[in-house]
């Protein structure tokens, strides 16, 4: 019997041991093993741009902060996706299109607010000129989300597959319409593309001295992280301290029971979808300020949301946070700490993260089974 036990244990433990060993190796690689590039050429498997964390702690800290701040943005967008899925079992394939639409709307509003002139100097932009575009964009996209939910999704609740197909159709239509009609303002120079960007408020355009290994870090990125944390806290307060939030949590746990208790679950669905769309919109504004908004990003952000939610688990706030951090860590570190001769394999690590999580917890790290 002992032998059977041992065999059974080994069979289950072996993949876990292998996976654990890989993760440990990856951490050791980044922290200790790797070396800076040689004088000439790319070097071998040990050579990366920065060398090990011990050798160059400043760069390591910067990359780590890049990952965590990016996780803030990921969280904002993915939490909306997770909320919609967790409660209504709707895979909102139009989430990326909401992001795109919101980014362009916020851009248009900011253009109007910052007046004429060929440039928007970041330092001239005050906080209100960033917040109002975001609010307007969130509002517009929330209305669009409400329309989609009421007209197309509320009458076929429970038919998961059909709803997924409907949101796919909506995403195709919205993405096409957005590209056809935006951007509207801005002077078109010879050969201008449709990628435009917003700017953060002026006070974020500096770097903060962290007084640690000489690292100076962008305040805008830290603000992005702060926004993500603020959204997380607000969502937590909403879900755990208000009645609607309680209904939502109950609905995530057991939809039928909640409905049979006489609670107007349909109103709650509508609220959840609207909040999810608004979160995507907020993410779109932040993303447009941090980088640009342009065609193709709807696909990118749908994938980002999917990966975060698959890794972290559906319908769970903590899951969305954990998924965001893990995914951002993998993305950012694979960009900077892969050997110079192998930088193109960063996507493989993303897949590895997915496979790793799914092999052990198919429902995601913090998801509920089934």
């Amino acid at each position: 019997m002992l032998e059977r036990l041992r065999h059974g244990d080994v069979g289950q433990l072996a993949p876990k041991i292998v996976a654990g060993a890989l993760v440990a190796f990856a951490i050791l690689y980044v922290v200790v093993i790797t070396q800076p590039p040689p004088e000439i050429g790319n070097g071998g498997w040990r050579n990366t741009t920065f060398g090990s964390a011990i050798h160059d702690p400043g760069s390591f800290l910067q990359i780590l902060l890049d990952a965590i701040t990016f996780a803030g943005l990921l969280f904002i967008v993915a939490s909306g996706f997770s909320l919609i899925f967790g409660l209504m079992r709707v895979v909102n394939m139009a989430h990326g299109s909401f992001y795109l639409l919101a980014g362009y709307i916020a851009y248009e509003i900011q253009q109007q607010m910052t007046g004429e002139g060929f440039a928007i100097a970041g330092t001239d932009v005050n906080t209100w000129e960033w917040v109002l575009p975001m609010l307007v964009a969130a509002g517009c996209v929330a209305v669009v989300g409400l329309l989609v939910q009421q007209l197309l999704l509320s009458w076929n609740q429970g038919q998961d597959l059909r709803q997924a197909l409907i949101t796919i159709a909506v995403s195709v239509i919205i993405a096409d319409q957005v590209i056809a009609h935006f951007p509207r303002t801005g002077v078109f120079q010879a050969g201008g593309g449709n990628a435009v960007s917003m700017t953060w408020p002026g006070w974020t355009e500096r770097r903060v001295d962290l007084e640690l290994w000489g690292v100076q870090y962008s305040l805008a990125r830290l603000a992005m992280l702060a926004l993500g944390v603020a959204v997380g806290i607000a969502l937590w307060l909403w879900l755990y301290r208000t009645k609607t939030g309680m209904v939502i949590r109950a609905g995530v746990d057991d939809q039928q029971m909640t409905a049979s208790l006489g609670i107007n679950i349909h109103r709650t669905f509508a609220i959840a979808f609207v909040v999810g769309a608004a979160l995507a919109a907020m993410g779109g504004t932040v993303g447009a300020s941090q980088g640009v908004v342009g065609s193709g990003q709807d696909t990118q952000w749908l994938l980002n949301s999917l990966v975060v939610v698959i890794v972290g688990g559906m319908g769970s706030l903590l899951g969305a946070a954990a998924g965001s951090v893990l995914y951002a860590l993998v993305l950012t570190f694979s960009a900077a700490y892969l050997p110079l001769s192998a930088t193109q394999y960063s996507i493989v690590l993303t897949f590895g993260l997915l496979a790793f999580v799914l092999a052990f917890r198919p429902q995601g790290l913090f998801g509920r089974a089934g």
Partner: protein, 463 residues
């Protein structure tokens, strides 16, 4: 029996029958035709979707000017044109291809244009990967003729080079000729880092910069390759050497990445000094962005084979022609200009071949073309033995004009050929991450780049 929701059944059935009856006839007949069927292939979606009206406008303006066509709507090129004839034969523009910068769509559109709509000639495509697809198609369809629109990939005329593919403008590497030398001499750059999109157009465009910069003695100390579809450019930008450790940075990132990567650089290293940054033509595409574009005013930028603002007679004549036919289109834009030249070359060939297409047309395609922004050889662009243009190039500088940001020509690089004086050969490795290597060499135009001031090419050489 359940109550029949008859409308749910009948409505789709009726729609099917109607739709089917429209399509069935199209499947059967194959009528004969005596006209010259021309297709214009461009992008209506994707990163270069804005080029749709520009490309069509350029080609149709040339057909209007040299083949007597009547434009239907002077504000909307895609409304079409009629009445173009050459040597007594009618030119029928059978369709506009709607690509999205990817190869599969290009393949579908090419088949649709050349097989369903039975075009004899294609003017296009717009982008690099599409041109690779078209060149491969051309290899297996020798009776059709293809005049490339604005595609910048090297392969179609260097490695694939079928006999029925012609390109009357430079490729992505040629467009950047002279940029490296200008920053070496004028800004004193001796070592630089380069960041490029990790795919073939990024490598090709970067190859032009690297070849030019290294040929005169510069050194590329670091190459960074963010993949396409990157959301966060920060970790890539951090891999660039810190300001102060290099003299400058070359940027070869396009699409949604141009603005995003520049912003990421600013967040990582502080304010962007235009003297430390040079880019390829994608910097010029930033023009609509009021946030990022102003940051690079003053940067030197690779060209597009066009010389907007040049005050030569030829240039002014061309701009007047464009204004007559399509007043709202920017004549100096490469998308308009290159398609114009392609269509013009086609018209001249049709005159020579007397309206014949196929092999006769290919023999008749001109080996030279008078191009508006060409100065060498009295304004004549020549094709090399692989039907690729040897073209003057014009490095640019981003400038502010009143309330807009635009580009000004700063240099004139005569007769840039695709091989860069033998550096790029069909048998040499294609541009890639490590190619070309940074070697010192004498390029044919080294030391011969002339200063251009206010649209006038001076006798002064750039020092």
């Amino acid at each position: 029996m359940k109550k029949l929701r008859s409308w749910k059944l009948l409505l789709p059935l009726a729609a099917l029958v109607t739709v089917g009856s429209v399509f069935v006839p199209g499947s059967l007949a194959a009528p004969a035709t005596h006209e010259i069927r021309v297709a214009i292939m461009t992008d209506c979606k994707g990163a270069f979707g804005f080029g749709y009206e520009l490309d069509i406008g350029g080609a149709q303006a040339a057909l209007a000017q040299y083949a007597g066509g009547k434009i239907k709507n002077r504000n909307k090129p895609s409304a079409g044109m009629t009445g173009a004839t050459v040597a007594g034969h009618r030119i029928n523009i059978v369709g506009y291809g709607c690509g999205d910068d990817t190869a599969p769509t290009a393949a579908k559109e090419t088949r649709r244009l050349m097989e369903q709509l039975r075009a004899d000639v294609m003017i296009g495509p717009l982008s690099g990967d599409e041109a690779v697809t078209v060149a491969q198609y051309a290899k297996t369809h020798p009776t059709k003729t293809f005049v490339i629109g604005t595609a910048g990939s090297q392969d179609p005329t260097l490695q694939i080079a079928p006999k029925n593919v012609f390109r009357y403008h430079g490729d992505g590497a040629q467009w950047n000729a002279g940029l490296g030398e200008i920053v070496y001499k004028r800004l004193g750059w001796r070592n630089a880092a380069i960041i490029m999109d990790d795919y073939s157009f990024g490598w090709t465009s970067a190859a032009g910069i690297i070849a030019d910069f290294c040929a005169i003695g510069g050194k590329i100390t670091k190459r960074v390759f963010p993949p396409l579809n990157t959301t966060d450019y920060s970790p890539f930008v951090r891999q660039l050497p810190r300001p102060g450790t290099v003299d400058g940075y070359f940027w070869v990132i396009g699409g949604t990445g141009t603005g995003a990567s520049l912003k990421a650089f600013e967040q990582a290293y502080g304010r962007i000094d235009p003297k430390d940054h040079a880019g390829n033509l994608f910097f010029a595409f930033l023009g609509a962005d009021r946030v990022v574009a102003p940051k690079v005013v003053g940067s030197y930028v690779g060209g597009f084979g066009t010389g907007g603002g040049l005050k030569t007679k030829q240039a002014k004549a061309y701009e007047a022609i464009m204004k007559r036919h399509y007043p709202k289109l920017p004549a100096a834009d490469g998308f308009v200009y290159n398609y114009y030249n392609a269509a013009w070359a086609l018209v001249r060939a049709l005159r020579t071949s007397n309206g014949q297409v196929g092999a006769a047309l290919q023999r008749a395609m001109p080996k030279t073309n008078r191009s508006a922004y060409e100065i060498s050889d009295r304004g004549i662009v020549k094709l090399d033995s692989r039907r690729q243009a040897i073209q003057d190039q014009y490095p640019l500088q981003i400038v502010r004009r009143g309330n807009t940001i635009t580009t000004a020509v700063v240099g004139y690089v005569p007769n840039v050929d695709q091989t860069f004086g033998g550096l790029f050969k069909p048998s040499s490795p294609a541009p890639g991450r490590a190619q070309p290597k940074c070697v010192k060499k004498k390029l044919p135009w080294q030391g011969k780049i002339r200063v251009v001031r206010n649209g006038v090419v001076t006798k002064q050489v750039i020092r």
